[in-house]
């Protein structure tokens, strides 16, 4: 269950529309390493976490990602609000405009629609947490790529820097969650079995009958 707050996690106030930049930043809404993908990934994976700490980290980071997708979609909305037809056509936003006008719709910068195949939910906490560590780094790289483009536009760069910094914090917390699970496993072979499925372990670990 969630409650809504009528504010953004970090303020976004963009005064200059920019169709081209909107098309780039849209990727962090519905692209392969975007915030929808992040939130849906963690919300789906949390059910098979074998300890309370890992489940809490997934649950609470997924919740924060919802706030991030709201920030990114706000950036996209404010960048496309009040665009002229000329700007739309000149910037290359034309094909998007034909299907969505300037409504916010989840797709990658290259136009690929959002799709659940952007993430996995493997039902194995070691597998899932390694994916999440990679996901946070991929999102961080994408924000770095965006920042190189918007570095001279502080009203866009400022919230993007905030979002980038959160990827780093989430990476740290996922690392700690992973360690908490590994500490409860056979130190000689973390991958001997799936702690969320093999109960008692029936996979490859010694002593399994």
């Amino acid at each position: 269950m969630w409650n809504y707050e009528k504010r953004l996690q970090y303020p976004v106030n963009i005064t200059q529309p920019n169709a081209k930049i909107a098309q780039y930043i849209m990727s962090q809404y519905g692209g392969p390493d975007g915030e929808i993908s992040a939130s849906m990934r963690y919300l789906s994976q949390r059910f098979t976490m074998p300890n309370r700490m890992a489940a809490a980290v997934l649950n609470d980071i997924a919740t924060e990602e919802l706030a991030h997708l709201e920030m990114v979609s706000t950036i996209v909305h404010q960048l496309t609000r009040d665009l002229s037809m000329e700007e739309i056509e000149k910037s290359g936003l034309g094909p998007y405009y034909i299907d969505h006008t300037v409504g916010v719709w989840p797709q990658a910068a290259g136009g690929v629609p959002f799709n659940a195949c952007e993430f996995q939910s493997k039902g194995d906490p070691i597998t899932d947490l390694f994916e999440n560590l990679a996901a946070e780094q991929k999102a961080r790289s994408t924000y770095d790529n965006i920042l190189r483009v918007v570095r001279d536009m502080p009203e866009i760069a400022d919230p993007i820097k905030f979002l980038r910094a959160r990827e780093v914090v989430h990476f740290q917390r996922f690392g700690e969650a992973l360690r908490s699970i590994q500490e409860e496993l056979d130190a000689k072979n973390f991958y001997a079995f799936n702690p969320s499925f093999d109960n008692p372990c029936t996979a490859s670990c010694e002593g399994c009958k």
Partner: protein, 91 residues
């Protein structure tokens, strides 16, 4: 503080304190016995509650729970702008 705080300043303070709560939440998930962090988080949560109440009393509720119920029969939540809106507009 109460009177000379503009709406924007109060919102900025709410954002700051709420962010600190978000970050402490994640930190405490993986460090549940850090006493210093627990004390800090408790102070932040109390401050956040106070600020949300103050905001609701002057400008209207940011959360349903902080709604101030008065004799007026108006749904105050609806009067609050969404955070992406341009000032003075609805979009």
């Amino acid at each position: 503080m109460k009177q000379n705080c503009s709406r924007q300043q109060l919102m900025a303070r709410i954002n700051e304190v709420s962010f600190a709560v978000n970050d402490m939440n994640l930190y405490l998930d993986t460090h549940p016995c850090d006493e210093k962090a627990l004390v800090y988080c408790r102070e932040l949560v109390q401050e956040r509650k106070k600020l949300l109440k103050e905001y609701a009393e002057i400008y209207g509720p940011l959360t349903i729970d902080s709604t101030v119920w008065t004799e007026e029969s108006v749904w105050k939540w609806m009067e609050q702008p969404f955070p992406w809106e341009k000032e003075g507009g609805c979009r």
